[in-house]
């Protein structure tokens, strides 16, 4: 009845790079490095990727409305030191509440006062990092055994991280693709003014997005702290920018309105495979940090914006 073919990937932003890059990396690594398929390496990759995936899902939620949150790494660090310095019963709730407060601060700054999200979250990134260092100046402390068990136990031969990933993916996928809230995020991200004319509130969802992103950071922090089994006040440092790189590689448009959970998975795998591959062929981890920077530059350059500026 119509000449329009349904777009295969809709508003997911999936394209040649988002799909081809992880596939190419996978092919390259499986052919080029014999250790790649060893059980140990697969498990290793999985644990590296788990935390990044959870954070990147939070970053996706913010990116859909055209925002960005680089403070999420500091939230991981804060969560870590809270878990390692409070008693087991209150540690997790306190960590989650603190994260929600950080998100609320970001959301108020951006959605209510109209501060540029990069500036707002840059400020909270520094502040929260300082706060984490104030609580604990160096790695250490004891982590509740239950958390360690949650992060480390293998179930049915699958590592715990796998289940963290699957649950996080399921929750965010339903939220974004099945609820009215999710649909409205896509609408706001595409054009907030048109969305408002269609009768969609704009401010509250924006605020909620920043809180959800910080909460994703806290959950990633719980997982990481459990795995390492000690607190670390700078544990989250690389995650802020890495999560932005991951979603940008996964085809998520940083200007808003386009992106998907699958894209985030692919982007995260790409980033994980690159650092794993560098590791396997014996490149210095510092060079791979530099490569992450290059990837970030490449990924954001692929998304030409309308305006020049911050």
């Amino acid at each position: 009845m119509t000449r329009h073919k349904k777009r295969l990937f809709g508003r997911s932003g999936l394209g040649v790079i988002a799909i081809g890059l992880p596939a190419a990396m996978f092919l390259l690594l499986s052919l080029g490095t014999p250790d790649f398929f060893s059980a140990r390496n697969i498990a290793n990759v999985n644990s590296q990727i788990t935390a990044l995936l959870i954070v990147a899902l939070g970053q996706l939620i913010v990116a859909l409305i055209g925002g960005i949150d680089i403070s999420v790494g500091s939230v991981i660090s804060l969560t870590s030191v809270v878990l390692a310095s409070l008693s087991a019963s209150v540690a997790v709730p306190v960590a989650l509440i603190l994260a929600a407060l950080v998100g609320l601060g970001n959301g108020l700054g951006v959605a209510v006062f109209g501060v540029h999200p990069l500036i707002m979250t840059l400020a909270s990134m520094i502040f929260v990092q300082g706060f984490a260092l104030l609580i604990m100046s160096a790695a250490g402390g004891t982590v509740p055994p239950l958390l360690i068990a949650l992060a480390k136990t293998n179930i049915a031969g699958l590592p715990a991280g796998f289940f963290w990933c699957v649950s996080a993916l399921a929750i965010v996928a339903v939220l974004l693709h099945k609820t009215a809230f999710g649909l409205r995020l896509f609408a706001i991200g595409a054009n907030a003014q048109s969305a408002a004319l269609s009768g969609v509130g704009v401010r509250a969802p924006r605020l909620a997005c920043y809180m959800l992103c910080s909460l994703a950071g806290a959950i990633a922090g719980v997982y990481l702290t459990g795995r390492i089994a000690s607190g670390d006040p700078t544990m989250g440092e690389p995650f802020g920018l890495n999560s932005v790189t991951a979603i940008a590689l996964g085809g998520v448009q940083l200007s808003g309105g386009v992106g998907s959970v699958i894209g985030v998975v692919l982007g995260t795998i790409t980033l994980g495979l690159i650092s794993n591959g560098m590791n396997l062929v014996g490149v210095s981890p510092f060079f791979s940090a530099a490569l992450t920077g290059l990837l970030l530059l490449g990924a954001v350059s692929l998304q030409r914006r309308k305006a020049i500026g911050i």
């Binding site: 009845m1 329009h4 349904k6 339903v174 595409a190 054009n191 009768g199």
Partner: protein
């Protein structure tokens, strides 16, 4: 002012909506003043008038986008005040906006149901949404799949979907704001069917348009606005075409405009444009602007005159063709699509939106004007600002300010407009491209701005303007080029032109009589 009122509107059960003495201002500009009339159930009610008559403003008040300064809107006999678009929708008023409000990343179905998605167990019921959307599309006769992403549709199809929004809405009053601006013949047919259906369902349909054919065909009642004032509300069958046009236009020009230069003009061009396509898909245009003359690009909104001007200025990249600038000695400079280059070549753009694109609001008058003087200065050189020249300019232009150090943001619209013109006068360009020369400017300042532009032309400059005010073209321009659908359909001499002629060309495109040189 008394309204059209066969009965007392408030007492009549069929009266769904009544406007009483509505006034709306934007800064110094009065967009609507003392408008009163009523709308009745089961009728199609045309709101018409020239560009800028206040049609869209009135409907945006009804849609909750704006709130009136004074006066009231009676809905079913009760005064209402909407807190935004959401409130108006809750009250049963749906609007199909003139500009596209579709979200390009959502499917047709999602766009149609955004804000009131059908749900099951708290989640979106995707299937119900699709089925209901498809039903609406079929009912209106739009051959589109509800699952297609709107960004993949061509503009005309997007407008059809926009119209389908009016069919989805469970509303008593449906507003269509210039719905046919981007529709082809079959599209208009679909809209006509939909409107007939809605009328039968007992809804009140407001139909904003200045297309006479459609008004006579579709509308039972017609309200005419002019300059923000209510002219009349009458049954359409009591009106003839000539009535309608003469009620919409016709105004005395007074002594607002400076006298045209009586000398025979020199025939050397300052700017020429040939086979020029400002936007993909538009027909190519060719014209020239001679030294000493003011040329107007007239036409209805959205017909491409603005894009032609912007492409000449280098602000948007033209799709094809050639634009050339001639300096006083006759030397030719081809214009490249970069504003830095066109400004260097001697073209100055005065944009329509002063705040957004024109002025440096937080800087002083002197700083704003001085930036023009630095048009060709190398960056590392010392900024030599001739303060005396700035003061002299301010005097000549009659800019009312404390002194040259006053911040531009604190000036009135007219004075801001003069600062923008002053910047280019100080820069020494000899071609001015002016969008809406007097938008948001009071009457006194208007006359002064016209005088400044005329003087600029008299001193050997060339001016090209776009304006949605026909009187401006007639009063100010030496030649008027009428644009319809991106093509130049008529060239009129300013002295001989009248509003009806321009409107006829602008509305109906290429008439047999019009010769285009």
């Amino acid at each position: 002012m008394t309204a059209f009122a066969p009965n007392d509107p408030a007492a009549d059960a069929a009266c769904v909506i009544a406007f009483r003495d509505i006034t709306k201002r934007f800064g110094a500009i009065t967009a609507l003043s003392g408008v009163s009339f009523a709308g009745y159930r089961g009728t199609v009610h045309a709101i018409t008038g020239e560009n800028g008559a206040g049609k869209s403003t009135l409907m945006k008040l009804l849609a909750g986008v704006f709130t009136p300064e004074s006066g009231e809107i009676l809905l079913g006999g009760k005064a209402v005040r909407f807190g935004g678009a959401l409130g108006a929708r809750a009250a049963g008023i749906a609007t199909v906006f003139q500009e596209l409000t579709l979200l390009p990343n959502l499917t047709v179905a999602e766009n149609l149901f955004l804000g009131r998605e059908p749900r099951r167990f708290g989640l979106i019921d995707g299937r119900a949404m699709r089925e209901r959307a498809q039903a609406v599309l079929d009912r209106v006769g739009i051959a589109l799949d509800a699952d297609v992403i709107c960004g993949d549709l061509v503009i005309a199809e997007q407008h059809l979907v926009e119209i389908a929004k009016g069919a989805v809405a469970d509303a008593d009053i449906v507003i269509y704001d210039e719905p046919t601006a981007a529709l082809d013949g079959p599209g208009v047919e679909k809209l006509a069917r939909l409107i007939a259906q809605q009328k039968q369902d007992g809804k009140l349909i407001f139909y904003i348009s200045h297309r006479l054919d459609e008004i006579f065909r579709l509308c039972d009642t017609t309200t005419i606005l002019k300059d923000g004032k209510h002219v009349t509300t009458r049954p359409t069958r009591e009106l003839t075409r000539d009535d309608l046009v003469s009620l919409m236009v016709g105004r005395e020009l007074g002594h607002l405009f400076p006298r045209r230069n009586p000398r025979p003009r020199r025939q050397d061009p300052a700017l020429s444009v040939s086979d020029f396509t400002a936007e993909r898909g538009r027909p190519p245009v060719s014209f020239a602007v001679l030294r000493g003359e003011i040329v107007g690009l007239a036409g209805l909104e959205g017909h491409g005159q603005r894009e032609i001007l912007r492409a000449v200025a280098g602000l948007i990249a033209a799709d094809g063709g050639r634009a050339q600038k001639y300096d006083a000695s006759g030397k030719v400079t081809p214009l490249s699509p970069a504003v830095v280059a066109t400004a260097r070549a001697g073209l100055g753009l005065i944009p329509e939106d002063r705040k957004l694109e024109g002025l440096y609001q937080p800087l002083s008058i002197a700083q704003n004007i001085a930036l023009g003087m630095l048009r060709r200065a190398p960056m590392a050189s010392r900024a030599r600002i001739d303060q005396d020249r700035i003061r002299a300019l301010m005097g000549e232009m009659n800019i009312r300010a404390r002194d040259a150090s006053q911040i531009v943001a604190s000036l009135s619209g007219g004075n801001q407009q003069k600062v923008m013109i002053g910047r280019w006068l100080a820069s020494g360009v000899d071609v001015l491209l002016v969008e809406e020369p007097t938008r948001g400017v009071d009457v006194g300042a208007k006359a002064e701005i016209y005088r400044l532009l005329r003087e600029f032309a008299d001193h050997g400059g060339a001016v090209l303007i776009t304006s949605s005010e026909l009187t401006e073209h007639i009063g100010l321009c030496d030649r008027i080029l009428v644009v319809h659908d991106g093509a130049l359909v008529a060239e009129l001499a300013g002295e001989d032109a009248d509003e009806e002629t321009i409107m006829r060309h602008a509305l109906m495109g290429r008439p047999a009589a019009a010769a285009v040189s």
